[in-house]
Symmetry: C2
Subunit: 334 residues, 2 copies
């Protein structure tokens, strides 16, 4: 008796309490910043059927994996990915130690504030800038750099902290899914180490549930103490085909719900849909120039091509119109 008690964790009791709490929770509108449209109803219907015991679509808690793209899905991404603003600010901060940057691209353009000049340096220029600003230091040092930046840097158009430009309806959705036994993951093309320092506080998603692009690291001893040094070498690009690979590597289970906003998320949604049982595939459409941004097929950032729109229609994916489906874009407290 004693041995059996020690070996069986109190899973049953805790799950029941969690279920009870979730029910109470849902008595209030769990998605108050969503307008009462077909989109909101599709999400609530899906969650209802996969969490109702006895439903033919019921999914046990461990299978309730939901993956979210970050840029353009959980927070804004215009006029460029926020991580690029971080890179630019790092170039400016490091410039005094690099007088040669005054005449060397893409650094010279960065220091002149000429974003078109930066873009003109192409992929190689971008890679050099990332290598300079994201590598060379230890993982701990990089975490501190990101933490300090994200706590203070402000968006050029809104003047908000970047973490104030997260989407309130998506914060509610994350909490709603978790209250219903889902484990929520980020699966983003952004840098995994750029997101981890703040996702737990901002989204309630802990570092171990963040999947992203990465550069290689090396184990070294410094003064006899082990560190991981960040190398200027790409390890993994978590975008397009890479998203199912990243999901497989980090999660090892297929999501039953996936949320994205661009061509980079297509394979993640396809991979999610290809599993057995009920599935929810959702794309955020940026069609609100007044409250956020309006962009799509012609945008270099967060491209939502016509082909993606066509696939969404054919496959029955849910498309969120930010303009029509969301009563609010950013959290009210900002």
């Amino acid at each position: 008796m004693k041995s059996s008690m020690s070996r069986t964790p109190p899973t049953v009791a805790l799950s029941s309490i969690a279920a009870l709490t979730a029910s109470l929770w849902c008595a209030a509108d769990p998605l108050p910043s969503w307008n009462d449209t077909a989109t909101k109803r599709a999400i609530i219907t899906f969650v209802g059927k996969v969490t109702t015991p006895g439903s033919p679509d019921f999914m046990p808690v461990p299978e309730r994996i939901a993956t979210f793209d970050n840029d353009g899905t959980l927070w804004s991404e215009q006029p460029m990915y926020f991580q690029l603003f971080f890179a630019l600010d790092r170039v400016k901060a490091l410039a005094p130690q690099h007088p040669e940057w005054q005449t060397k691209e893409p650094f010279a353009s960065v220091l002149k504030g000429d974003l078109k000049g930066v873009a003109a340096s192409g992929v190689n220029g971008m890679l050099e800038m990332v290598a300079t600003t994201h590598a060379g230091m230890t993982t701990t040092e990089f975490e501190t750099l990101v933490g300090n930046w994200i706590a203070t840097a402000r968006h050029p158009k809104t003047g908000k902290l970047y973490t104030e430009m997260v989407f309130q309806p998506m914060l509610e959705l994350l909490a709603y899914l978790r209250a219903n036994g889902f484990k929520t993951f980020i699966v983003s093309g952004g840098g995994i180490e750029f997101m981890r320092p703040w996702t737990e506080k901002v989204y309630g998603i802990p570092p171990e549930q963040v999947v992203g692009s990465s550069i290689k690291t090396k184990f070294e001893l410094r003064d006899g103490k082990p560190v991981l040094r960040r190398l200027p070498e790409v390890e993994f690009i978590d975008d397009k085909d890479g998203k199912p690979l990243g999901i497989n590597s980090h999660i090892g289970r297929r999501p039953i719900a996936a949320f994205g906003n661009s061509d980079g998320d297509r394979q993640m949604l396809e991979w999610t849909q290809a599993g057995d049982g009920a599935r929810l595939m959702v794309l955020v459409q940026h069609d609100d120039a007044t409250r956020e941004y309006a962009y799509g097929a012609d945008s270099h950032i967060g491209t939502f091509s016509d082909a993606l729109g066509k696939e969404a229609t054919q496959q029955g994916w849910t498309v969120i119109s930010m303009k029509n489906d969301w009563a609010r874009i950013y959290p009210a407290s900002n």
Copy 2:
């Protein structure tokens, strides 16, 4: 009020209940298969101090990350890693389709049951065998192969299923740590996809908390349906220096407790120790030839070198003597 209720998950209530349940839980001996030695007391003391609010060593729940090596730490690994038995059985199963294997090493030796001949084919022979038996199929197909094998294959010496050769004291330790708010991870040199099909059932560790060595995969469409095909190309070796890298990549947080048994775990324990605050580093010593196996510095599998023993002593790491510290090795029900 409504909005605020919807945005705040019921974390506080659930944590309190978890803490209460954990207390009740601990009233019984949480580690009944451990003898009452200094080793058991060191573990219980550590858990007590990091979970007692107000203690200078208190760690919030999210920081309670514990990592476990698998081979030789959670289950046996002699006379060779169990995954190699899987590879050998796969060669035998595939042999009818490969008549050329009758004369080609290392396959010819495998088919003759000549393990020394297999070993003589060296690293290249082993890599060829792994490429043949672990790659070419989809991730889903591989999962099925592993699942079927682990449910039926038996150890040549004990006649037990391999999953019956897990260490009962470690099962209790995993449950005890989880009851105290720890998140338990596997960090093993073994194949990540070889472990995931059964770790949740056997250890209570879900796929997303398994870190291991991997081969590359490729996203492809088969009959219009996406699959991930396993490629005969090493992606990551989660051993030695690789363990801190794997921890950083998959967990993104430094463990506060780490458990291993061999030279391959040294860097994981060093990385764990190098963090701030209370830490627990533990090595399992295989010194019980009667109930399991006795091996150490001279073993090719699970080498526990004199240098590792010396470092453990100098750094105050806890060393488990299977002979003296464990009242039982394998679960009783076998």
